[in-house]
């Protein structure tokens, strides 16, 4: 698969991924008669409530019962519909995992799972509501596609691609407003990596909004004369292992970064790919085998070690 080369800079524009989710549901509903939204009583958090207000005939409240919601979605999908599930990532990944396994992933039905409030930054709700192992869990599930967008533009683009794909898709999204870095006309291709900063000394692989923090890390490194090659990996599964190996070979040093556990997430996936194709010294930035806590976003990023400074420090260790 071809890698996209799209140098990105961080401007002033902000948008929340969940707002893009709410807006794009309306867009999908208007272009595809198969699309329905199922909510687990969190629509006014996930922003799926826009559908309930503006396209009520396409919105089904399933109540606080995720296991049933996943099963209902499977039944609808088996009849030719494309259900989109709205709830928090922590519940969609854990509470109904067996339902996802047996009636969605095994029969490969087109259920689209939108995990809102993924990662540590969940609005001071703490470890019960922070989901930092969803990439690991979802990518171990056969037939699943796993996507973690960088910003609101990529959420929309990924949703369009996911809606058009045949099987189940998990999209992990964040809660709070964050920089919009992609151009409005960006189109998503499942599996494609994006080189967002060209460099020669160290390769940084990142996913989700963490990639924005890696652009900041690249700026910190540049101030020291270190040239970072930053690759955004929005699709963790299917992973473009060839592109990962090629980008690693370019510098001979690899850092991975994610708002997610280092066990089995992007860092794990990259390590697996490089271990077979291109063994490379590497450091993994992410949550280090622990649960989170409720706190302000900046405090969480610092305490759990995923700030731009942490990413830059890991790169320096490899030089």
């Amino acid at each position: 698969m071809t890698t996209l080369h799209l140098p990105l800079t961080i401007g002033d524009a902000l948008n929340a991924q969940r707002d893009a989710f709410g807006d794009t549901l309306i867009e999908l509903i208007d272009r595809d008669e198969r699309v329905y939204v199922l909510d687990g009583d969190l629509a006014n958090s996930t922003k799926a409530d826009k559908t309930s207000r503006e396209r009520p005939e396409r919105f089904l409240q399933m109540g606080i019962a995720e296991q049933n919601m996943m099963g209902v979605a499977a039944g609808m999908a088996s009849c030719g519909l494309v259900p989109w599930l709205s709830s928090f990532a922590c519940f969609l990944v854990n509470r109904d995992l067996d339902q996802l396994r047996v009636v969605v992933a095994q029969p490969n039905l087109p259920v689209k799972i939108a995990g809102a409030y993924s990662g540590l930054l969940t609005g001071k709700t703490g470890k019960t509501h922070q989901e930092v192992s969803d990439i690991s869990v979802m990518r171990a599930m056969p037939n699943m596609t796993v996507i973690s967008p960088i910003d609101a533009v990529e959420v929309r683009a990924a949703m369009i691609a996911a809606n058009d794909s045949e099987g189940p898709v998990y999209i992990r999204m964040t809660r709070d407003p964050e920089p919009v870095v992609l151009p409005a006309d960006y189109a998503f291709e499942i599996g494609r990596t994006i080189v967002v900063r060209e460099g020669t000394d160290v390769t940084i692989f990142s996913t989700g909004a963490q990639t924005v923090r890696c652009l900041e890390a690249a700026d910190l490194l540049a101030a020291d004369g270190v040239s970072a090659h930053v690759v955004h990996v929005p699709t963790i599964k299917p992973l473009d292992a060839e592109a990962i190996a090629e980008a690693a070979a370019r510098t001979g040093r690899v850092v991975t970064a994610e708002d997610h556990t280092i066990i089995g997430g992007l860092g794990g996936a990259v390590a697996e790919a490089l271990g077979e194709l291109q063994p490379t010294p590497m450091r993994r930035i992410g949550i280090r085998d622990t649960f989170g806590e409720s706190a302000a976003n900046d405090d969480l990023l610092k305490k759990y070690g995923i700030t731009p400074g942490h990413v830059a420090d890991a790169a320096r260790e490899l030089l």
Binding site: G71, M76, P83
Partner: protein
């Protein structure tokens, strides 16, 4: 309305054939579930030969009635019904549980045409049934969805999540069939030290439970095909919400040594077991004539 006597006799013969195919298949495979398929046998035959609007030659046709076996471990009963109805050759039942077979230990919709939903992890069947019923309503299609539940199966909380949401949406194109055979794999067994007071069936007071969840209930003898077919019609005619048929059955029905013995939930069939079962079923078939 009762079936014509000849038709009822024919369905009874098919149910005997189904029971024989179940025992023979489990004997051949060296593994499999028996008690559940036997308790469901008469209802499975009535569904596939009389109730469901289906076409074995077009198993994916859009307006077909749907059937989900939530108690997926009774798969060999469903496979035998499908084979008898002409979905695939009866000979294929010999591949049950074997490598590369479409007839997996639990039903897989991605492998076998005629399976409308995968199942096997208990408690999961009613939710997809609700999804199908909602899809029919949303798409303006007239098919009806039937879900067969087990009484052990119904110990899973998801069944009751689905029951709550189904009655909230007042779906009248969804019928649950509770195969109330009174046993589960092990349960609160006296063998395990539970006293007789604890040794209760998997579900108690099912009528009151389902009614309290907003469902219309019809109680029947699950081995009386006339009653069952009539109850399915009553369920379709009930337009104010979902209906559950509470079908009292005997686990292991039709094979004397299996009846009401939880040990026959799942067990290899020996050559002697097979011979006795075949003899008993042959006697039942002879008595029909």
């Amino acid at each position: 309305m009762s079936l014509a006597p000849d038709r009822l006799t024919e369905l009874k013969r098919q149910a005997i054939h189904l029971r024989r195919l179940v025992v023979e298949s489990v004997h051949h495979a060296g593994a499999g579930h028996l008690g559940g398929p036997m308790s469901a046998a008469d209802m499975l035959i009535a569904l596939y030969f009389e109730v469901l609007n289906i076409d074995p030659n077009d198993p994916h046709k859009a307006d077909r009635d749907r059937f989900i076996l939530s108690k997926g471990h009774s798969s060999i009963g469903l496979y035998s019904a499908l084979a008898l109805r002409g979905y695939f050759p009866i000979e294929e039942l010999k591949t049950f549980d074997a490598i590369d077979s479409r007839l997996q230990g639990h039903p897989a919709m991605d492998l076998l045409p005629g399976i409308d939903m995968s199942s096997g992890s208990l408690g999961q069947g009613l939710s997809p049934g609700l999804g199908m019923a909602l899809a029919a309503r949303l798409k303006g299609e007239s098919f009806h969805t039937y879900v067969m539940l087990g009484d052990g199966d119904s110990q899973e909380g998801q069944i009751w999540e689905a029951a709550l949401v189904a009655s909230r949406y007042q779906v009248n194109n969804l019928t649950a069939i509770l195969d109330l055979n009174g046993l589960q794999q092990y349960g609160w067994s006296t063998e395990a030290g539970y006293g007789e007071l604890a040794r209760k069936p998997p579900q108690e007071n099912p009528e009151a439970r389902w009614q309290s969840f907003g469902w219309n209930t019809i109680s029947i003898d699950g081995h009386d095909m006339d009653q069952f077919i009539d109850a399915c019609q009553q369920a379709r005619d009930h337009l104010d919400g979902p209906t559950v048929l509470i079908a009292r059955t005997v686990k292991g029905k039709g094979i004397s040594y299996m009846e009401n013995d939880f040990n026959w939930h799942s067990k290899p069939v020996t050559d002697e077991d097979l011979k006795q079962a075949q003899d008993e079923l042959a006697a039942q078939e002879a008595a029909l004539a």
